[in-house]
């Protein structure tokens, strides 16, 4: 009984970033699975809850979208739109902005009449009018604009010949992959390098699931890795900036504050009008020091990292420091 009271006292005092963190593990070991569930389903955690919204806006909102803008200024290849995906991008705007306004009625609103739209975003002190289908009506183009309003990365898949093709996207916060490289590829090809995933038929099943999603349906799943520092942009393009630290972090006394659990909440949406599949990838980073403030999380993350098979650790790029991380978490 006293333990429960203690836990409540601890969680009550936790900051929002911990309370709302999408803790991704349901047991003390982790394997790939088709862990798909309906979107907007609230998940209770040891620290609080997450998942009630399609587009989560948190304390990092303004800094995240600012950072995205800077990445795009430096490297425009992080936006890709094959010409036939224009309707899908506009469909995403017509779907996501109203959803966001509905979830944040005090700070946002969306009005549409025919193809003329008005969008107000009080958090950015922004009011714009634009016309669906007219790319010049939004500065920087529709996809860049949409990327300036949400914290999520976006990947668009076209369905044809019974397969899915990555034909558009805006990805500035990728976990060690590259949109520019993958654009135009098949869903199957993109997942080629992930160990175990192809053998276990997870990609085929996921693809079958996606192929059968009906317009308007929304599901989600989580994925995770580790990242050093609260660094959102760990794409292949910036590899030299972040990868070398993976070799030295194990001996860094600041490891608990620097190593972050990186969780992606991925929404899988069949857009209602274009029929394209939209992946929203929202990245959350929480330091091990923060993780350790929730005793159950400390234990689970420690065990998951210790138990993870070597090929998966290698693929996630964490093999050189995962032991140091789990040792720290499991030492009480």
């Amino acid at each position: 009984m006293s333990i429960i009271i203690d836990t409540d006292a601890v969680t009550a005092a936790l900051p929002e970033r911990i309370k709302r963190f999408p803790f991704p593990y349901s047991s003390e070991s982790y394997r790939y699975s088709a862990n798909v569930e309906p979107s907007r389903k609230v998940v209770m955690t040891e620290a609080g809850e997450w998942g009630g919204r399609l587009l989560d806006i948190d304390e990092h909102y303004l800094s995240d979208v600012k950072e995205r803008g800077e990445v795009l200024d430096r490297d425009p290849s992080r936006i890709q739109v094959l010409p036939h995906m224009r309707p899908a991008v506009w469909d995403a705007i017509a779907t996501l902005l109203p959803a966001m306004a509905e979830e944040n009625p005090d700070s946002m609103s969306f009005h549409r009449e025919g193809n003329n739209c008005r969008w107000w975003n009080g958090l950015q002190d922004l009011e714009v009018e634009f016309t669906i289908g007219d790319d010049s009506s939004l500065q920087g183009g529709p996809l860049r604009f949409l990327g300036s309003q949400i914290q999520d990365d976006m990947v668009f898949l076209d369905q044809r010949e019974d397969a899915l093709w990555l034909d558009a996207g805006l990805v500035t916060f990728a976990a060690d992959w590259s949109l520019g490289f993958d654009t135009g590829m098949k869903f199957h090809e993109i997942h080629g390098p992930v160990p175990r995933v192809l053998e276990e038929k997870i990609v085929s099943r996921a693809e079958q699931f996606l192929l059968r999603l009906q317009p308007g349906e929304q599901y989600r799943r989580t994925n995770w890795t580790l990242t050093i520092d609260r660094r959102l942009d760990t794409s292949t393009e910036t590899y030299p900036n972040w990868a070398p630290e993976r070799g030295t972090i194990a001996d860094d006394p600041a490891l608990p504050d620097r190593v972050h659990l990186r969780v992606e909440v991925q929404h899988l949406i069949r857009l209602p009008h274009s029929g394209a599949i939209l992946f929203l990838v929202r990245t959350y980073l929480l330091s091990l020091a923060d993780i350790a403030r929730v005793p159950v999380w400390r234990e689970i993350v420690g065990r998951v990292l210790a138990e993870l098979p070597e090929d998966m650790a290698e693929y996630k790029g964490i093999s050189r420091y995962r032991k140091a991380a789990s040792d720290w978490l499991l030492a009480t």
Partner: protein, 325 residues
């Protein structure tokens, strides 16, 4: 749902859908009527993918009809229905709908989507088959995509002809008999630019013939799309029996009655949506026996594996099937 609704039981195929009001009924031709539905409170309706269909409940039955709009931010859904005398009753019931009636409909389902990367959309329709391709033509016009239409109809029986002319202009070819249609078809099938996708909708024999000619002329399968408008007219099939392994019961499925209906009558509730072998909702696991697959949902490979079947349309090649139910 309001208390004034006459239909108290919602058909499983429209469960989770919408309750709409008929706001307009217009005669297209002596045998084709267009019906427009809106949300009773004037709210916008869910957008839909061009070529989508709507399942509409009538009395105790439900039928699928193609939506004729482009699907962009709709405030109304419009379907056009051909009166088929002596049919199961759906088309006659649709023709009796009047302004102010309320009906249960499904959410729009996509089963005949345009290919986003097509360089040109070659649309081919016979009779009431115009409805889903009209939706494609509108979408193409809205996004500035290239489209042409061969529309084959009996004189005086051309639904939506005026709209087709306006949407497609020079891109529309109208045919009133087989000979002229065949001429135009051959010409179109042999002169398309690379990257043209073909979409055909109409009676089954018409579609088969168009698709066969296209394949014979070397069109790859990935460029050919068809909407099985007449899919409801599957033949009655042979009677067979099913053994439900988990429930330990055996049921007879008579000719002309689907496995899904038989299971429902026996008190089993099977998720289902289209009841036409398109949506994939009614999938069942087969433990023993070879189903006669008549659906459009499973891939050829999945059909060959004989481990799943769509119980709304598929039957049995063997005298008995054993199901995991």
């Amino acid at each position: 749902m309001t208390a004034t609704t006459l239909e108290t039981t919602v058909h499983p195929a429209v469960a989770g859908g919408l309750l709409l009001e008929v706001t307009n009924v217009s005669i297209q031709t002596p045998s084709i009527t267009s019906i427009m539905f809106r949300d009773p409170s004037g709210e916008p309706l869910p957008p839909y993918v061009p070529g989508s269909h709507l399942v509409v409940q009538y009395g105790t039955g439900a039928n699928a009809y193609s939506l004729t709009g482009s699907g962009s931010a709709p405030f109304e859904y419009t379907i056009s229905v051909l009166r088929v005398e002596g049919s199961a009753g759906g088309s006659l019931a649709m023709h009796e709908l009047a302004v102010g009636d309320r009906v249960h409909v499904s959410r729009p389902r996509s089963a005949f989507a345009p290919a986003a990367n097509a360089k040109h959309h070659l649309l081919i329709a016979a009779g009431i088959g115009i409805t889903p391709v009209l939706s494609h033509a509108r979408f193409a016009a809205e996004w500035g995509a290239a489209a042409s239409l061969i529309y084959c109809y009996r004189p005086g029986e051309g639904a939506h002809v005026a709209e087709a002319r306006e949407l497609l202009g020079q891109g529309l070819t109208e045919c009133h008999n087989r000979g002229s249609f065949q001429e135009v078809l051959t010409e179109k099938l042999t002169t398309q630019k690379l990257g043209t996708h073909l979409y055909v909708c109409g009676p089954a024999a018409f579609m088969d013939s168009v698709l066969e000619q296209a394949r014979d002329l070397g069109w790859p399968k990935g460029l050919l799309h068809s909407e099985a408008f007449g899919a409801a007219d599957l033949d009655e099939g042979q009677p067979f029996s099913v053994n439900l392994a988990r429930s330990g019961i055996r049921l007879e499925v008579p000719a002309g009655v689907s496995l899904l209906e038989t299971l429902e009558k026996a008190g089993k509730s099977i998720p289902n949506m289209c009841r036409k072998g398109i949506c994939g909702e009614c999938s069942l696991s087969v433990l023993r026996g070879a189903p006669q697959h008549r659906d459009l949902y499973l891939s050829d490979q999945e059909k060959a594996e004989n481990t799943t079947m769509m119980c709304c349309v598929s039957r049995s090649l063997d005298e008995e099937l054993e199901l995991d139910l």
